[in-house]
């Protein structure tokens, strides 16, 4: 038995365990989304029901929390991706004074723990007596998403073939047309990736939001509040709902890519 053979199987077994470990909590969350708790707790299996799914918003406040989270995530991801794409273009395409500093400043939020981001923003808002709520949440989310967007788009731009743009210009296209018809389509996958990443990070954020949300309740904050008493199965429903939507979208993408690869 060759070493390679052993290694291959050790790796495979290890990886299977790894995926089991990754998915175990998800399986638990999913299973209990179909539970019919007798009392207020949702951790002993009492019986199967669809009703948590059909009545996903039966818990007061849960629907508005989900809506707020989605709303914030949508606006924040678009804003952050916009800002981040422009910055990435500047950082990759130009040599300019202060480039290293800019890189460092973009990198800094990524190397700051969330609790410090939240705490410092809260001190800012308190000092200016800014009422906490929708806008402060949005500001915070755009702030911590921007760096992720820059990094994502930058990675794509670095491997970008400038010749295509030059060819378009040679053919008589002006700068704007070139950008729209050539550059944008080429970096579109990266922009989309940045959008999705920002959306995912924003929708999931608890710590920073907890500091700056004031009276507003996003879904993670709702979960935190509910967890202090007893998490109703509807929370599992929404968690798994997000999961299913994300997985479906990603699966579709994988299938699409594979098809394209086969055609090519």
């Amino acid at each position: 038995m060759s070493l390679a053979f052993v290694r291959r199987h050790v790796l495979t077994v290890w990886s299977l365990f790894f995926f089991g470990y990754l998915l175990l909590p998800i399986a638990v969350v999913a299973a209990f989304s179909f539970n019919q708790p007798r009392g207020r707790f949702n951790f002993t299996w009492e019986g199967f029901t669809w009703s948590n799914w059909t009545h996903w918003n039966a818990i007061p406040g849960i629907q508005s929390a989900v809506e707020l989270s989605l709303e914030i995530a949508l606006i924040a991801s678009i804003l952050a991706t916009g800002l981040g794409t422009l910055m990435a273009l500047a950082l990759v395409r130009y040599g300019f004074r202060g480039r290293a500093t800019t890189n460092f400043i973009v990198f800094l939020p990524l190397s700051t723990p969330e609790i410090v981001l939240g705490a410092s923003l809260l001190t800012l808002f308190l000092n200016f007596s800014t009422p906490l709520g929708f806008w402060t949440i949005l500001i915070a989310h755009v702030m911590f998403c921007v760096s992720f967007a820059v990094v994502t788009v930058k990675a794509r731009l670095v491997g970008f073939d400038r010749h295509l743009e030059e060819a378009a210009m040679d053919l008589g296209a002006n700068e704007w047309t070139t950008f729209r018809k050539v550059t944008l389509p080429l970096i579109a996958p990266a922009i989309l990736a940045a959008l999705l990443l920002c959306f995912a990070i924003s929708v999931d954020d608890f710590v920073v939001t907890y500091f700056v949300a004031g009276p507003r309740v996003t879904f993670p904050i709702f979960v935190w509040g509910a967890a202090r008493v007893a998490t109703p199965p509807q929370i599992n429903v929404i968690g798994i709902g997000f999961f299913v939507i994300a997985v479906t979208a990603m699966l579709a993408n994988v299938v699409l890519q594979n098809r394209r690869a086969q055609r090519a």
Binding site: L126, G214, A227, R228, A230, P232
Partner: protein, 389 residues
């Protein structure tokens, strides 16, 4: 009894008041004016009128009122009788975060959009609301049923004549345990020291609950806290923490840990146990031999609320028949005389449950916390350091 957030989520109830004190009311000019007793225009407008509003905006804790399907029968009856629609919102999960919701409006002298709210007296908030002038005086002429308030609740130190508040429900703090995992745990000494319980004991994050029970155990008086008795109590708790006796300090979340067996015994709130028994029939609750703690959730009319309509509603709730109807579902301690007599016929199991209609001995054995300690910075800091570090 609320399913998801019965009583205050006792984790961080001081915070928003303090935040308000530091940022809102002290650092800003409007805040300063409000804090210095500047008159705040009430946006509600109808505070003097003796006419009923069309709608009563009532904010309460989750599952803290009678319920049948999606309806609240007692509210429906109120509407039938008075023609007032009750806009009933279950948006209070804990005192602190709810206070933070209404504080900005109150500090700016604006209506909160609510006519009636419910807050707990072993937090700082009810007395703070009264002291800041952020709640309206009750229209007692509209509340003849105030005579049905149980005598023990008539003169709280923060509102001696019940000018601003009426109790909604009360509850006890005591010890809950799992009979399947342990012999009865009836003393704080066992809870804090028994080796059999090591690592399976919960205490409450709420300053007043834990302090009151430990002080009573030490033989000190929780209603008159001194530095000496405070430090003694802290030392006792610290010893238990360092010995690994204490699994965690809990807010409402002790309940799930007790129900699933992670906790064998814990400090617990009386009304939770009835609900918990649906999940785990082996749970039992008792006041410790050295005494427990009693607290009360109070109805208050925030500044700008419709005083007359809210007062008429309070009067309605203090009708024994209605109180009984609510109590039959809510299962905490009922503050209304005569409700028990109604329930004896309707639902004797509830009427005879001492957790709902406590015996005099229980009431005598229940301490209340020294209100000055709630505002003592040094105590609060020491306590937070103990539970969070």
């Amino acid at each position: 009894m609320s399913e998801y957030s019965d009583f205050s989520d006792r984790i961080s109830r001081k915070v928003f008041l303090r935040r308000a004190a530091v940022s809102g009311s002290v650092l800003t000019v409007p805040g300063l004016l409000a804090a210095c007793g500047g008159s705040s225009p009430s946006a509600g407008g109808t505070t003097e009128a003796h006419t009923l509003a069309k709608t009563l905006h009532f904010s309460n804790w989750t599952l803290y009122i009678d319920k049948k399907g999606n309806q609240h029968p007692s509210l429906n009856q109120f509407q039938q009788k008075y023609g007032v629609h009750v806009d009933y919102t279950e948006d209070i999960n804990d005192n602190a975060s709810f206070f933070s919701k209404i504080e900005p409006d109150l500090a700016r002298g604006q209506s909160t959009g609510r006519d009636l709210i419910v807050m707990t007296d072993n937090s700082r908030y009810p007395s703070l609301l009264v002291n800041k002038g952020w709640v309206e005086k009750l229209d007692k002429s509209a509340i003849p049923n105030i005579k049905n308030l149980i005598p023990q609740q008539r003169h709280p130190n923060w509102d001696p004549n019940r000018d601003y508040s009426l109790p909604w429900q009360s509850g006890f703090t005591g010890i809950g345990w799992n009979t399947k995992l342990t012999e009865p745990v009836t003393s704080m000494g066992e809870l804090l020291g028994s080796k059999k319980l090591r690592g399976k004991v919960g205490l409450l994050t709420e300053f007043s609950d834990t302090l009151a029970l430990v002080m009573a155990y030490n033989g000190d008086d929780p209603s008159h806290i001194t530095d000496k008795t405070f430090n003694k109590a802290i030392a006792v708790i610290q010893r238990a923490v360092h010995a690994g006796q204490i699994r965690q300090f809990y807010g409402n979340d002790y309940a799930s840990a007790l129900a699933n067996g992670d906790l064998t015994a814990t400090m617990a709130w009386s009304g939770d146990i009835v609900q918990l028994q649906a999940d785990n029939s082996h749970l039992h609750w008792q006041m410790p031999d050295t005494g427990g703690d009693i607290w009360t959730d109070n109805m208050l009319i925030p500044k700008g609320g419709n005083v007359y309509t809210a007062s008429v509603y309070m009067n309605w709730v203090y009708t024994p028949r209605i109180a009984a109807e609510i109590e039959d579902y809510v299962n905490y301690v009922c503050p209304v005389l005569g409700a028990k007599e109604v329930l004896v016929k309707k639902d004797p199991a509830i009427a005879n449950n001492v957790l709902i209609f406590p015996t005099k001995q229980m009431l005598d054995n229940a301490h209340t916390i020294d209100p000055t300690a709630l505002n003592n910075e040094k105590y609060q800091t020491t306590w937070q350091n103990l539970i969070s570090a």
